[in-house]
């Protein structure tokens, strides 16, 4: 029987699908009766999905253009 601490030691590999089959079964057995770890797994998966889907810190083209122009001015002067 594994403890919550044991589960937390493996949660990273579990979320990445990188645990051996027998370990996975033990972890999932733990999840079947541990509400706290179930919430952690579920909410961390949701966090990951939100971060991946939403993206963040997009650099708008209108912001990038003047930067690109400054860089290219320097590049063209150095490239001569």
């Amino acid at each position: 029987m594994i403890s919550c601490a044991d589960f937390m030691a493996e949660i990273g590999n579990y979320l990445e699908g990188e645990v051996a089959e027998d370990v996975r079964l033990q972890l999932e057995h733990h999840l079947s009766h541990c509400q706290t770890c179930t919430v952690l797994v579920d909410s961390t998966r949701k966090t990951l999905k939100i971060v991946t889907d939403t993206g963040a810190f997009d650099l708008p083209d209108a912001t990038f253009r003047p930067i690109a122009e400054r860089i290219m001015t320097r590049v063209r002067s150095e490239g001569k």
Binding site: M8, G17, E18, D42, R45, A56
Partner: protein, 490 residues
């Protein structure tokens, strides 16, 4: 398979030319007819097909195996076309009998009285059977194509394993991108950016027009910045979708995996003339030789073409910017550091020899530029500290989250929440989360650019994700807030 079982070439030719007059046993002929209908036409298996096959002595078990084998052949055909592998045995095109081309009177899927599937599927306890637990986690319920295969728990375990490896563990494309490929047809192009639209078109061509599929389709994706790993993951995801499409059509289950893109007989022809992801002399090894999608552009810059440098900058500006925001935690600083980064890249590009991908080299320069700036501005904050990553992290927010957090806020609100949450993280965690989860760098590439070992990178990634989860939790706990939050945070 027949050849491996010792069937002579002459006999094979006879079967291929007209299997109905090749003196096959009735049951073998029935299996061929049945599976050809699945792979060589766009029709679903009907009640009449089932009755005909059963009357030839085929059991439910053998019919399920025939459907699974047909689905597997679709998957393998698509994989070999997509990666340009030369088949170990040349594949023949077997023309479907004429009557496949006309729809028989009753084409609706057979409706087994109890399950609604073509074949009887005993009930399995979804709470106890590990693959079903996994499917429910991934798809919120167990898709009916899996419920229709309960006669073969071993196959369901293998399918869960394949989905886990591709959708959960595979990390070159985002989960959203892979789900789009798996459920292709469910998204209109208007919902997609140009890159994702190109990816969807690429896999659609692979599915419906494999005869015309060629190296130029791969090259087009490379030019959009897709890596070899990403392209391989796209091909494999679409091949898996093809597998489930055939199963749905054969088993009469609900088409949870999107509309079927039919494999035409022509697609079964050898694809030896095409070279895709690997050089022809390497194809049998199954190893993909990494080709840098920026290689050609880099070479042009090295020959003095400055427009090519601008093109490289346009391709990678977002990645460089996010790396710098990740390290510096300040968007104005990141914009300044971006200019320094690209100037350094230009000054050193003549000496770039292509031993790593250009994008990896570029992000390494951005990382070094960011770290140098961080040391100058905030010497107390560092990416170098080690030792605490592996120590236990104790989450405080342990209340269950609402089922679909993304429905609670508008897109702009959600982005603001994520950005604010990321900014609260220490730099060494923030940058790892941004490179892996937003920029989708592989663990190996992220470790290289940050100068970390893989275990250290994974430890920081986990810590960063858990800290971000902690920061977001108050917004998403399910305490009757569902559907009432839009507009509440800005």
């Amino acid at each position: 398979m027949l050849r491996l079982r010792g069937i002579t070439e002459q006999r094979l030719d006879h079967i291929v030319a007209d299997y109905q007059k090749a003196n096959l046993a009735p049951a073998t002929r029935a299996v061929l007819r049945f599976t050809l209908k699945l792979v060589a036409s766009d029709l679903s298996i009907s009640r009449e097909d089932m009755r005909e096959a059963s009357s030839e002595g085929l059991t439910d078990e053998s019919l399920l195996e025939a459907i699974l084998t047909a689905a597997l052949s679709g998957l393998l055909c698509m994989l070999s076309t997509g990666v340009g592998a030369v088949p170990d045995f040349a594949l023949h095109s077997i023309p479907p009998p004429e009557h496949f081309l006309t729809v028989p009177g009753d084409e609706s899927p057979a409706t087994d009285e109890k399950s609604g599937f073509n074949l009887y599927a005993p009930e399995l306890n979804a709470g106890d059977f590990a693959p079903f637990v996994f499917f429910r986690e991934q798809f919120s319920s167990v898709p009916s194509v899996f419920l229709a295969q309960t006669r073969r728990p071993d196959i369901l375990e293998a399918e869960a394993h394949a989905i886990r490896a591709l959708l959960v563990a595979g990390d070159h494309l985002s989960r959203t991108q892979k789900e789009r490929l798996l459920l292709a047809g469910e998204h209109s192009k208007a919902d997609l950016g140009a890159s994702d639209g190109a990816l969807l078109n690429f896999t659609k061509k692979l599915s419906v027009d494999a005869e015309e599929f060629s190296i130029s389709d791969i090259q087009a994706l490379r030019e959009r910045g897709f890596t070899e790993h990403q392209i391989l993951e796209a091909v494999a995801t679409r091949a898996l979708a093809c597998f489930f499409n055939v199963l749905q059509a054969g088993l009469g289950s609900t088409p949870d995996f999107g509309a079927r893109w039919t494999c035409k007989p022509a697609e079964l022809k050898t694809v030896a003339k095409k070279a895709h992801l690997s050089a022809s002399d390497q194809r049998h090894t199954g190893i993909i030789r990494p080709v840098d999608p920026d290689g050609e552009c880099v070479a042009r810059v090295q020959r003095g073409d400055l427009d090519a440098f601008e093109e490289l900058m346009n391709r990678h500006s977002q990645r460089v910017y996010r790396t710098l925001v990740g390290i510096l935690g300040d968007q104005d600083d990141a914009r300044d550091a971006m200019q320094d980064t690209f100037l350094k890249v230009f000054q050193h590009l003549a000496r770039f020899e292509g031993r790593s991908k250009f994008s990896t080299w570029l992000v390494s320069i951005a990382t070094n530029t960011g770290i140098q700036r961080l040391r100058e501005q905030r010497p107390m904050e560092s990416l170098d500290e080690t030792g605490s990553d592996e120590e236990g992290f104790r989450p405080r927010q342990v209340q269950a989250w609402t089922d679909d957090p993304e429905q609670l806020y508008s897109e702009a609100e959600m982005r603001s929440l994520i950005e604010s949450g990321l900014m609260k993280l220490p730099a060494k965690y923030r940058v790892v989360v941004m490179l892996r989860d937003i920029e989708q760098l592989s663990a190996e590439d992220a470790a290289v650019v940050l100068g970390l070992g893989i275990p250290a990178l994974k430890a920081r990634l986990l810590r960063g994700r858990l800290m971000l989860r902690e920061a977001l939790a108050p917004r998403f706990i399910s305490s009757g807030r569902k559907g009432s939050m839009k507009g509440a945070i800005i």
